[in-house]
């Protein structure tokens, strides 16, 4: 229980840790989505060109 309350500073400590990890995870997730989208767009364009040829 002490670990949760952190001597009445629990809200400050846990929100700081939570926000930090959330931003890092979100940043990684967004960068994966962005990469996959660009890859897929290029793939579709190249395959369409190949089929036309």
């Amino acid at each position: 229980m002490d670990a949760m309350t952190m001597g009445n500073y629990g809200v400050y400590v846990w929100s700081s840790f939570g926000l930090t990890f959330a931003v890092i995870i979100l940043s990684d997730w967004r960068s994966r989505i962005h990469h996959n989208r660009i890859y897929r767009d290029i793939e579709v364009r190249i395959k369409a060109l190949e089929e036309r040829q």
């Binding site: 001597g7 500073y9 400590v13 840790f17 931003v23 940043s27 960068s31 364009r45």
Partner: protein
């Protein structure tokens, strides 16, 4: 040596190399963060003045340090891109900006959360460290806005590189602000003369967090550079060959 850099700067080479190094950075980085967070939250003793509130430093210090390091990557990328016209260097700058903005945001918010119980205020406009860090966030926003406002990638690279180089002055101000001016923010703790001003039980988790965050930052940056390279090189032959190859190149 020159040949090594020349090969490293080749977009196809870097694209493949980055895919290999990302797990080698991410896995030890995450393990160090897991240890640092656990030890910092549960094993390190309470501070005699700040109580448990000081534990915020385990995320605040790495975020603040990376907010400046990301900017140096951006500026160095811009300088190398301008001087040697290296395409990959501009891609590094463009990839570092969103990460730098994220870590600057974290440094500001976690610092503010720590300031509330310690200083009795969320924010102090007169404080040089806080204000210069906020200017750093605006510089990141300005850099990204400038890049997205210019359609021509080569022109966007040049203009944003100049902005990044000018902004380096602010990074120096952020770093030395606590020494040059009177500040609510505490001075150097880790690198002060006579050694770190912290007990070893508090210090080791902090070092683990700094190294862990740096490795994870490296992995995140490498992933973003790959995306940037793929986007810039989308019409080149190597991308076409890579995508048509059975192995692909995600």
């Amino acid at each position: 040596m020159w040949n090594f850099f020349k090969q490293l700067a080749s977009p196809p080479h870097f694209y493949r190399l980055a895919a290999t190094i990302i797990p080698w950075l991410a896995v030890p980085g995450l393990l160090l963060i897991a240890y640092g967070a656990y030890a910092g939250l549960f094993l390190a003793p309470e501070d005699y003045q700040q109580g448990d509130a000081y534990r915020i430093i385990y995320v605040h210090v790495p975020a603040a340090y990376l907010s400046m390091m990301a900017y140096m990557f951006m500026a160095l990328g811009g300088a190398i891109g301008l001087v040697w016209r290296m395409k990959l260097a501009h891609a590094v700058g463009a990839a570092a900006a969103p990460l730098g903005a994220a870590f600057t945001f974290l440094a500001l918010v976690t610092g503010s959360i720590w300031g509330r119980p310690m200083w009795g205020t969320w924010w102090e406009w007169g404080d040089p460290r806080l204000t210069s860090e906020l200017i750093l966030l605006f510089l990141y926003f300005g850099y990204m806005a400038l890049r997205s406002a210019i359609d021509d990638t080569a022109k966007a690279d040049k203009a944003s590189a100049v902005l990044a180089l000018v902004g380096v002055v602010n990074v120096v101000v952020v770093h030395f602000s606590v020494e040059w001016w009177s500040s609510l923010h505490q001075g150097q703790t880790l690198f002060k003369k006579g050694g770190p001003g912290m007990d070893a039980e508090m210090l080791y988790p902090l070092i683990a967090m700094i190294v862990g965050f740096t490795l994870v930052f490296g992995a995140l940056l490498a992933r973003r550079i790959r995306t940037e390279v793929l986007h810039r090189e989308r019409r080149t032959r190597w991308v076409r060959e890579m995508i048509l190859s059975p192995a692909g190149g995600r």
